[in-house]
């Protein structure tokens, strides 16, 4: 194909670098510097998609972020598929492969096309609610086709091959937009020495200055632009970010910038180079210089390919040297758009007419048009476009002075391009992100940024100042103000002067009236992505939707991936008119982050794959890996779960580990338990306040188990705390609870009892902890220590001793979570692996067996020991657990949880209480979470008594065991309860005590 619409000269493209690309299976040529959209227009591609609801052919309307139609699927390979790429913002590269995402399965003739009218009727405003909410099941069927047809694109089916990253930025002044206002602001701020970031969504900075035509101080604007960018690039304190969209403006001047680092280079990013980057910016001051979006006028069949924004036509001509047609009709409400007709004429193509909606418009622009011999029809409007897959004519009618009625007889102007301008809407999006409502300004005929608490200034067109000189001057002065506010001494930079033709007052017109009323006229599209028409908005207001937020949701206006940049203001104006209100009274919907779609890759950054979440390792981790451990995630820790031998199932491994521990000796890596070092003369008093039991008399050398409750009396953690010295304790917590417990202790110390002299520090990672448990534990330990007297009467249960184990200074705690004779050996973690390996050297003759968390759970359940967070869930107090022995009510200080346990609800007799449960069939292991009922035959919903909290097969007892909560369970020992399971089966179980093995505790006292 030839580039039939390419001009022989001009533009900012590089004709020496031709590029080949694919669209919809066809191969085309473009040039470096093209956008995908400009390259398609250069090749005369009119239809680039089909519409969501009515399946109408659609073409390119705009040249920037506001483009609603040219939204494509990109990617040459499966792994590089990217949906939702706006062709107007995608730079062309060699080998680019793109697909239309709407218009399934074929652009020119397709299933949806046949269905068009039928579906149109099926999808009136509010269709989500009216059609799909009932029956629920049908949604699945509809959704598949709707999504496919709606141009949403698809995600890749293979992992993304590219890398993405985040960069945290701090700056004094962030300037959003590098048009004339932003550039002038950057100059002022940069010269003050302030740290400045200037971000712009386009590949080239310059904004409207790139569109040509302007002169500054008598020179082409491009020269000032180049000098300015050169100067900014020289400053160390300035970061220039092209191809970077400021997408979100969050509280306290936190903004996110989506930088596309390699999307212009190729399908994949170069090795080790991130494809996209999310800058997380904290800015002292922000200057919004985001410019404005031209508003199209709404008229019949305004979605035909060839209907375009006036400024976009100028951009394609001046920046890309592409004229997207031969015969132009321009409809405008303002002088500024005349520029497009002049550009068109200068490009050597025919301007059929300028249709100016204003009565008697006369001034410098009309004068220039006459001088050029261009026909100007004032007080007229295009009420309807004619054509099939491309504009073929414009129906022009007279317009009443207030724009409310089409008057007189029509004439049809033959043309292939219909450019319109309804004025400019300031791009207020970012200013809305933090909740600031934009304000309607009748002078501007648009919404401008409203009151905000952010440290934010708005310069140029976004503030409603559209003149080039105004933009430059305001940019320079606000850039200086921002730097001054951030603490620098700044002066407004001197800016050049543009020669501008004076403009006369524009007209506030949004929807061009047709002779027929809107519901009968050819469709007048407001939102192209969601196919919302003027008639649909009127219907919504007639159906009683008066708030613009409701109209939006009912019609889906602004719900597309363009967020209604093109259509929203027109939609609001139409709604206001229909409601007999001013636009100011109707107000606007609020724009939310993100300004344009952001890839998931950029959001995830490097927080993916192996870096998705920290993996915490103990000092013995390598050994566990080497010995085939399966790991369990406990918090962020990787804990050995069990150690299967070759050929073993999980249950076989657990049985072996359980039996070996009870028969001889097992070993557990317990390093992950939280450990808190507590020092100070009030340490003991502090423990007494945060634990439910007594600490006043615990002697040095002793350990004690404690329960920790919240103020409501509910258990939230437990563990053993040892008295290391009169003023020195070592507290242990659950693995998952460690950080939370320390913060909890600090909370009370800092806010309630600062007078207590106590310091708490985490030593979780400092100590490697290994537990040896089983009848041979003492024999094994005795082989590795000669300075600790292990005699059963000297080193008693719940004692701790300091000494040397395997040549390493150690603290050994004789505590037990298995009910066996058990020692917990703590050494500085650097030596953990050494001691662990020495234990195995000596343990071979005792068949020393490593066991993981699952065996630990089984062994402790055999003994009825709870696990906080498994057998408790924040609704269980110590009495519910049958642990009144761990509550000392007569302590002088009203410890945390004491009062809570006495609340009316906590002393009910029918509370759910922890009991043991034995299935009548000893082979059945109840699933954890199963609900108990008294009568399995009662109608649903059944009255539930409580759930299973822990359930295992015990190899030692050769049967299943379980613990669970049962209403009034402590008084129901011997009763049978029923567990109806999901699969329809009902399991019978007998309520029993929680201690299944060695109820007298003889095994640990040997």
């Amino acid at each position: 194909m030839t580039q039939s619409n390419r001009l022989p000269r001009g533009g900012r493209i590089d004709r020496s670098r031709p590029l080949t690309f694919k669209f919809n299976g066809q191969t085309y040529q473009g040039f470096a510097g093209d956008s995908l959209a400009s390259a398609l227009l250069a090749n005369g591609v009119d239809v680039i998609g089909r519409s969501f609801k009515y399946s109408r052919p659609r073409g390119i309307i705009a040249a920037g972020a506001e483009e609603p139609n040219a939204v494509f699927q990109l990617g040459a390979t499966e792994a590089t598929q990217t949906p939702n790429v706006r062709a107007t913002q995608q730079e062309l590269f060699d080998g680019l492969v793109s697909q239309p995402t709407s218009g399934w399965p074929n652009l020119n003739f397709d299933f949806m096309g046949l269905m068009g009218t039928i579906l149109g009727r099926m999808l009136p405003p509010g269709f989500y609610y009216k059609t799909f909410m009932f029956p629920q099941a049908a949604w699945d069927t509809y959704e598949k086709y709707i999504r496919k047809a709606a141009g949403l694109g698809r995600s890749p089916r293979e992992p993304d091959v590219d890398i993405y990253d985040h960069l945290n930025q701090h700056t004094d002044v962030l300037i959003v937009g590098a048009g004339p206002a932003g550039l002038a602001a950057a100059l002022s701020a940069a010269r003050s020495g302030a740290r400045v970031i200037l971000a712009d969504e386009q590949a080239e900075m310059g904004g409207s200055l790139l569109d040509g035509g302007y002169t500054l101080d008598g020179q082409p604007a491009a020269e000032w632009l180049k000098a300015t960018l050169d100067e900014l690039a020289r400053y160390d304190n300035v970061l220039l970010l092209p191809r970077s969209t400021v997408n979100g403006y969050h509280d306290h001047n936190f903004l996110t910038i989506h930088e596309r680092r390699t999307d212009h280079i190729g399908d994949r990013a170069p090795a080790n180079h991130s494809r996209q980057r999310l800058h997380r910016v904290r800015a002292k001051w922000v200057v919004l210089a985001t410019g404005a979006h031209e508003r199209p006028l709404v008229y019949g069949n305004n979605d035909l390919p060839g209907c375009m924004l006036a400024s976009a036509v100028s951009t394609y001509i001046n920046r890309y040297a592409v004229v997207p047609g031969n015969r132009l009709v321009l409809m405008t409400t303002n002088d500024n758009a005349y520029r497009t007709a002049f550009d068109w004429q200068d490009a050597g193509r025919e301007v059929v007419a300028i249709v100016d909606t204003r009565q008697g418009a006369a001034g410098a622009w009309q004068e220039e048009a006459r001088r050029r011999g261009i026909k100007v029809l004032t007080g007229h409007a295009v009420i309807e476009a004619r054509g099939r897959k491309r504009v073929q004519g414009a129906v022009v009618s007279g317009l009443s002075p207030d724009g409310s009625q089409a008057l007189g007889s029509d004439q049809v102007l033959v043309c292939d391009t219909l450019a319109t301008s309804g004025g400019w809407s300031p791009a207020v999006h970012l200013s809305c992100h933090t909740g600031s409502r934009p304000i309607w300004d009748d002078e501007v005929i648009g919404f401008v940024p409203g009151k905000t608490v952010q440290k934010q200034l708005a310069a140029g067109a976004v503030a409603g100042r559209f003149g080039l000189n105004e933009c430059l001057e305001e940019g320079a002065s606000l850039g200086a103000l921002a730097a001054t506010n951030a603490g620098f001494t700044a002066e407004p930079a001197a800016v050049p002067t543009a020669e501008c033709r004076p403009e006369t007052r524009p007209m506030a017109l949004f929807c061009v009236p047709h002779h027929k009323r809107n519901s009968r006229a050819p469709k007048q599209f407001v939102d192209f992505q969601t196919d919302v028409t003027a008639a649909a908005i009127e219907l919504a207001t007639r159906e009683g939707f008066e708030s613009i937020e409701h109209v939006k949701r009912y019609t889906a206006m602004g719900f597309g991936t363009d967020q209604g940049k093109l259509g929203n203001i027109n939609g609001m104006a139409i709604a206001a008119k229909s409601l007999n209100q001013t636009i100011s009274e109707t107000g606007t919907t609020i724009f939310r982050p993100n300004y344009t779609p952001v890839t998931f890759g950029a959001i995830a950054g490097r927080h993916c794959n192996d870096l998705f979440d920290p993996m915490r390792y103990t000092a013995m981790h390598e050994w566990h890996v080497k010995h085939g451990a399966k790991f369990e995630d406990v918090g962020q820790w990787k804990r050995p779960w069990y150690y299967p031998k070759p050929g073993e199932t999980m249950q076989q491994a657990l049985n072996r580990e359980c039996l070996a521990t009870r028969d001889s000796v097992g070993i557990l890596d317990a390093s992950t338990l939280g450990k808190i070092d507590i020092q100070g003369k009030d340490a003991r008093e502090f423990l007494g306040r945060v634990y439910t039991n007594a600490w006043a008399k615990l002697p040095v050398g002793k350990c004690r188990y404690g329960l920790m409750c919240r103020e409501d009396g509910m258990v939230f953690d437990d563990g053993v705390t040892s008295c290391l010295g009169e003023n020195h304790f070592l507290m242990t917590t659950t693995t998952g609870g460690a950080a939370g417990v320390l913060e909890w202790l600090e909370l009370y110390h800092q806010t309630e009892w600062p007078e207590l002299e106590v310091y708490m520090n985490t030593v979780t990672d400092h100590w490697a902890t290994m537990t040896i448990a089983g009848p041979n534990a003492r024999k094994l330990l005795s082989e590795l220590t000669d300075d600790i007297d292990l005699d059963r009467d000297t080193f008693k249960f719940m004692d701790w001793r300091q000494g040397t184990v395997a040549g390493v200074p150690a603290r050994v705690f004789r505590i037990s979570f298995t009910g066996e004779l058990s020692y917990e050996i703590n050494v500085q973690a650097h030596y953990g692996l050494h001691v662990w390996e020495k234990l195995f050297e000596h343990g071979a003759k005792y068949d020393l067996t490593p066991y993981g968390t699952e065996t630990m759970h089984i062994l402790r359940a055999e003994k009825g020991f709870i696990i906080a967070g498994q057998d408790t869930d924040g609704s269980v107090h110590p009495y519910d657990l049958g642990m009144s022995w761990a509550v000392k009510e007569d302590k002088p200080f009203s410890f945390i949880g004491k009062r809570g346990m006495k609340r009316e609800d906590c002393v009910r007799t029918d509370r759910k209480q922890l009991v043991g449960l034995k299935t009548l069939d000893p082979g059945i292991v109840l699933p954890e979470g199963a609900q108990a009922v008294d009568d399995p035959n009662q109608p649903k919903p059944m009255k539930m008594l409580g759930h299973i909290t822990s359930s295992y097969y015990s190899a030692n007892l050769e049967r299943s065991i379980a613990m669970g909560l049962i209403r009034n369970g402590h008084n129901r020992e011997g009763d049978i309860v029923y567990y109806p399971l999901e699969n329809g089966r009902v399991v019978e179980a007998e309520i029993c005590g929680t201690i299944f093995l060695d109820p007298k505790g003889e095994r640990q006292n040997v």
């Binding site: 969050h250 509280d251 306290h252 001047n253 936190f254 904290r282 933090t434 909740g435 608490v453 103020e711 409501d712 913060e743 600090e746 909370l747 800092q750 806010t751 309630e752 600062p754 009203s894 004491k898 009062r899 809570g900 006495k902 609340r903 009316e904």
Partner: protein, 100 residues
Amino acid sequence: MFYIYCPYCGEHREEEEFHAKGQAHLARPKDPDACSDEEWGNFLYFRPNPRGLYHELWVHAIGCRKFFNIARDTQTYEILETYRIGESPKLSQSTDQQQS
């Protein structure tokens, strides 16, 4: 994403470093056992949800680990002041009402 001045570090820090801990100045009753169920219930569970000025307890969890208080506008999310435990806020509910 808040930017919070830590009165102990003497700097603004990113919200990621902090944990919010609920309403500020919620003193534990001196004698919990003497509280009626209603009094204790109010202490445990009942919190105002004002539109406007609100005092909150935060902790600089990934930082200096100190608890401190914040006066925040719940509508605009502005942090009006931060101050250490034991200090009194300059802004209070009553002065706020006078202003409005």
